[in-house]
Amino acid sequence: MIEKLFNSTTVAVNVKAKNWEEAVRYGGEMFVKAGNTGRAYIEAMIENIRKMGQYIVIAPGLAMPHARPEFGVKKIGLGLVHLKEPVAFGNKEYDPVDILVFLCATDKNTHINVLSELMELIEDEFFLKQVRGGMEKNAIINYIHQKACKGENK
């Protein structure tokens, strides 16, 4: 299912951000543009990171900004941003971050399958290496699509 959520509106590469907040705003704007959330969601993600930020950095160089459904989520969504220059989130172990995976969900139960597929993607070292090596936006979308289709045929 995640191949339907990562699309040309919610995937971006070569993004310039001066700091983590700019990077998170960029992804938030993608959700607003794609119709996944309202603007409140952007502020909620930022507020979350201010409160307990370092935990959204879940793997080396990889952060997963998200917030609660009630902050204006209209439909489930995933986004991916690769930064031109990495930024620090204040996580001693996994900083600096250059890949951000954005998540929004309408409630806690409907997206379990999505999250489990997402976990496979963010643990795919080959994929992450390609993204870091400058993989193009369409190539990223195609890769996710093919990976998901293979998964379904298992």
Binding site: N48, R68, A105, I112, L115
Partner: protein
């Protein structure tokens, strides 16, 4: 046994953690129901074990809580939770 994973939002990190703990319990042949929750809802629940990050773990009172260093790194999660899960299992089997 009932295990509750907790994060601030209850929609991302705690769910991922729940999946990892389920995998670990399966591998160890431990019968566990793993549920995820946000911090506020977790206060009203009574699981055998709560698993969460240090910052939230400190805020639970009168509950059995274990702190993890990562929500998704299975190796670290295993190191942090397996001993206590096994201990609870032994206690319950008595």
């Amino acid at each position: 046994m009932k295990i509750l994973t907790v994060c601030g939002n209850g929609i991302g990190s705690s769910l991922m953690l729940a999946m990892k703990i389920e995998e670990i319990c399966k591998e160890e042949n431990i019968d566990a129901q793993v549920e995820s929750s946000d911090f506020n809802s977790a206060q009203g629940k009574n699981p055998d074990l709560i698993v969460t990050i240090k910052e939230l773990a400190q805020q639970f009172e009168n509950k059995r809580v274990v702190a993890i260093r990562s929500y998704v790194n299975k190796k670290k999660i295993r190191e942090d939770v397996l001993d206590i899960i096994k201990a609870i299992q032994i206690k319950q089997q008595r």
